[in-house]
């Protein structure tokens, strides 16, 4: 922790050298948040836009670098017992909440054990493995697990395990708390103002515990509902950073070619979004394995990546992405092969029965993609009818399993046990959610393998189990694996150090600075 500081001091001494790597303090960055978040109390709300804005207000115990290795945040250091059952976190000292109250181990216990157990379904998924959480002193917290849980250390990112102030929330009705309009965190930026429909303004936390950080005086998150207008906002200099998803993919190459413009795909390693095609395993032609394989052969996924996603991203081999741990690289890829698709369809005796396709209602690229897939499928003789839905309709149709084919994308959260197994476990078949085993895939062996791998210890044991599960899934094709998405962040090149972690701009402004 001392090295950068020393470097800074050294640079100060050598004033004659070009200040290349020298962070210069000051300046405000204008960026965009899309869509407007429903609220900013992370932990209560885990929507992507909330994470992006509030990730700069709130913090977790850990951060992750772009290789998903844990790095210190509110926890200075941590230890893991040999049996994988006990995790001890040593908290940083001298940290205060934005309202001046000190941050202590009590806050950690309250956040994890009370707040998130009540409000946060993704934290709950992790907490089910946790036996107890104890504050042994003001700056030490011990988590005791029921059984080993491989990805446990990956769960402490700000968005999943947000630290919330106990002194504000304890004993209150969390969702109705007045303080929700004035979020209080420990992060590098403080909430200043929110003009609904226009802008969210964050200002520098002058009392931030990391010396010299943040460099910026503030961040303005503009709210611009129309994609074309967002692109214009970057072009005419109103905003300087375009986080992923704020401009349509078709605008990306043009914007990236602008003067003083840089683009990075980094910062999404933690989420590693994986686009998939749900295929209803329960009924209709999609219940037939051969049909699902035919779909895989019929789709031109390279075309989609190159034309729709500007060549960003990765065509996946199977259920595990290339960013995910334990990928089995020996599997035969499903290449674009219409002939083979037709053969498979003939073999199963597909009679032209109409299948419905639900595009993802998240903007133009997804709509185009659905059109391309529909065209691919109809060229091998599959009779597809697209049914447009809005977000509400899409949620409901998937939640009630009322579809044949449907687009989606899921986060992988760095570990198969967190982000992948949920799609294939038969225990995860439940109506009402678009994020579980929506396709209705049931395979006992797969269930066994996934469950065993989640709690197996050490890593090598897990790898063998995961390789086997990939072979089965590759053959069964419970869902279509479309693309590991590459989400670009576009920004002015004179903004330095913008993406420094595996969750990208969600916590990136802490280290960023503007070269004058």
């Amino acid at each position: 922790m001392k090295a950068p500081l020393a470097c800074a001091v050294a640079a100060c001494g050598l004033a004659t050298l070009p200040a290349m790597a020298d962070p210069q303090p000051g300046g405000v960055i204008d960026t965009i948040i899309q869509p407007e978040p429903p609220g900013l109390v992370l932990g209560m709300i885990q929507n992507a836009p909330t994470r992006t804005v509030a990730g700069n207000i709130y913090e977790g115990l850990l951060r992750y670098d772009t290789d998903l290795n844990p790095i210190p945040q509110l926890a200075e250091s941590w230890e893991e017992s040999d049996d994988g059952l006990t995790y001890t976190f040593h908290l940083r000292k001298g940290v205060t909440w934005h309202d001046g109250e000190p941050f202590t181990a009590e806050d950690v216990v309250f956040s994890a054990d009370v707040f998130h157990r009540d409000l946060n379904p993704s934290a709950r998924a992790v907490l089910q493995h946790v036996e107890s959480i104890e504050a042994t002193d003001d700056h030490t917290v011990v988590f005791t697990l029921k059984q080993p849980f491989g990805p446990f250390l990956l769960s402490f990112e700000a968005g999943t395990f947000t630290m919330v102030p106990k002194h504000i929330y304890e004993g209150t009705e969390f969702r109705d708390n007045e303080a929700n309009n004035q979020p209080v965190g420990t992060g590098p930026f403080k909430f200043e103002n929110w003009d609904r429909g226009t802008v969210i303004e964050l200002v520098k936390n002058e009392d931030y515990y990391e010396e010299g950080l943040p460099y910026l005086d503030g961040v303005n998150w503009h709210i611009i509902p129309d994609g074309a207008s967002r692109a214009v906002a970057y072009e005419n200099g109103t905003v300087d950073v375009l986080p992923y998803g704020t401009v349509e993919n078709f605008d990306v190459p043009r914007l990236a070619e602008m003067e003083n413009t840089c683009m990075t795909q980094e910062g999404h390693e933690y989420f590693s979004p994986f686009a998939m095609l749900w295929m209803n395993n329960r009924e209709g032609p999609t219940a037939d394995k051969r049909f699902r394989q035919a779909v895989m052969y019929a789709m031109d996924r390279e075309f989609a990546r190159d034309v729709l996603w500007n060549g960003l991203g990765n065509v996946p081999l199977s259920a595990f992405g290339s960013n995910a741990k334990f990928q089995n690289e020996d599997l035969e890829p499903y290449d674009h092969d219409p002939e083979k698709a037709r053969e498979l369809l003939d073999e199963m005796g597909y009679d032209g029965e109409e299948v419905t396709l639900l595009p993802l209602p998240y903007g133009e690229t997804w709509t185009r993609w659905a059109e391309a897939v529909k065209q691919n499928l109809s060229e091998v003789g599959i009779n597809v009818r697209t049914e447009a839905t809005d977000v509400g309709g899409w949620n409901q149709r998937l939640g009630e399993w009322d579809y044949d084919l449907a687009f989606t994308y899921l986060y992988q959260y760095g570990d198969p046990a967190l982000g992948i197994s949920r799609t294939y476990l038969s225990s995860n078949i439940e109506k009402g959610s678009p994020w579980n085993n929506v396709e209705g895939y049931e395979n006992e062996r797969v269930d066994e393998l996934f469950n065993e791998a989640a709690t197996a210890y050490p890593e090598a044991k897990r790898e063998a189990l995961y390789h086997e599960v990939q072979e089965i899934l590759h053959e069964d094709v419970p869902v279509g694996w479309l693309l590991e998405l590459g989400f670009p962040t576009i920004y002015r090149c004179n903004i330095k150090n913008l993406v420094t972690s595996g969750v990208g701009v969600n916590d990136g402004f802490k280290d960023a600075w503007i070269e004058k």
Partner: protein
């Protein structure tokens, strides 16, 4: 007072209509697939039964429909429009925060379109046989036939991107924190593009209508009388023809003023204008029932207010109406 009585009667009627609109919309929205809890959960990217149940309970969505309706209606009677599910704020606050922007946008567009439309229409009427008159009408027809959002996009391209004269979106310069006159000028500058885009279509309507109405009025006997008096053409046009021709335009304008709120949805979207049109679209997509109902309530109320206002203006403009009341 005739007016007071009239307004009182109209208000009573308005209350009935508004009540019906609430009930109608309440059930209409229930027909939409998905509910706010599912959408909020969906946005979070992870969910479980407990989470959904918690949200539904919090929103009161677990109760029977008639109970929900009763709560809603009795809330409105005390000006309580409920809580926005997604924005976590009272609906009334949200709407009142956004309403001025919409009123500013539509009001400006309305005045602009009416003034320019009547002006262009009367020019065209006075130049019936001349090329200039035909050009005005051809332009009006083209504006009338052009999709609103398309004009908006083109305007942004031209004036913001290529010429860089005007801001492309928003209502004021973010972060500038202007006050006083500077703020007003700033807002005015942001207002130009959206207001003129929105006004264009309606201007075309008024232009066509004014011209037709004036040509019809110019056939009336009293125009002949006026000419027989030796009045100048200009005076006849203004005092006799235009004044009579304006009556149907007042009626039309009253209807259009209400519709502008709807037309503003597109304009507000393209120009990122923080008005209720946009809020409505978002609320719809979020299934934010309370907010959506609140917006419907307010926009219907606006339409009704416009209608009453139109009636009053009409009464002022046409002495014959007074007698009937």
């Amino acid at each position: 007072m005739v007016y007071a009585r009239l307004i009182a009667m109209r208000l009573l009627k308005a209350v009935i209509v508004l009540f019906l609109i609430i009930v109608f919309n309440f059930f209409l929205i229930q027909l939409a697939p998905g509910d706010p809890a599912a959408i909020l959960a969906g946005e979070a990217g992870a969910t479980d039964e407990a989470f959904l149940r918690q949200l539904r309970e919090q929103f009161g969505l677990d109760q029977p429909l008639y109970v929900q309706l009763w709560h809603y209606v009795s809330g409105i009677a005390t000006l309580d429009f409920g809580y926005s599910y997604r924005q976590q704020m009272p609906v009334l606050d949200l709407i009142l925060e956004r309403l001025p922007a919409t009123l500013l946008l539509t009001g400006t567009a309305f005045v602009l379109s009416l003034a320019l439309g009547i002006f262009a229409g009367s020019m065209a009427a006075a130049r019936v046989k001349k090329i200039s008159g035909s050009v005005i009408m051809a332009l009006a027809l083209v504006f009338y036939a052009t999709p609103l959002f398309w004009v908006a996009l083109m305007a942004v391209l031209l004036f913001s991107v290529y010429l860089d004269w005007l801001p492309a979106y928003g209502m004021f310069t973010v972060g500038a924190h202007y006050t006083g006159m500077a703020h007003i000028l700033d807002v005015a500058k942001h207002l130009i593009l959206p207001a003129s885009t929105l006004a264009l279509f309606f201007m075309a309507i008024y232009t066509r209508m004014t011209r037709a109405s004036m040509l019809e009025a110019s056939q009336q006997d009293y125009v002949k009388t006026a000419r027989a008096k030796g009045l100048k053409d200009r005076v006849i046009q203004r005092r006799h023809i235009l004044r009579n021709a304006l009556l149907p335009i007042i009626t039309l304008a009253g209807l259009q003023a209400g519709q502008m709120v709807g037309g503003a949805i597109l304009t507000e979207t393209v120009f990122a204008w923080p008005g209720i049109g946009r809020l409505m679209y978002e609320a719809l997509m979020q299934r934010d029932y309370n907010l959506l109902l609140g917006i419907f309530f307010f926009s219907a109320a606006l339409v009704i207010v416009f209608n009453i206002f139109t009636d009053l203006v009409y009464r002022l403009a046409d002495p014959r109406i007074k007698e009937a009341s």
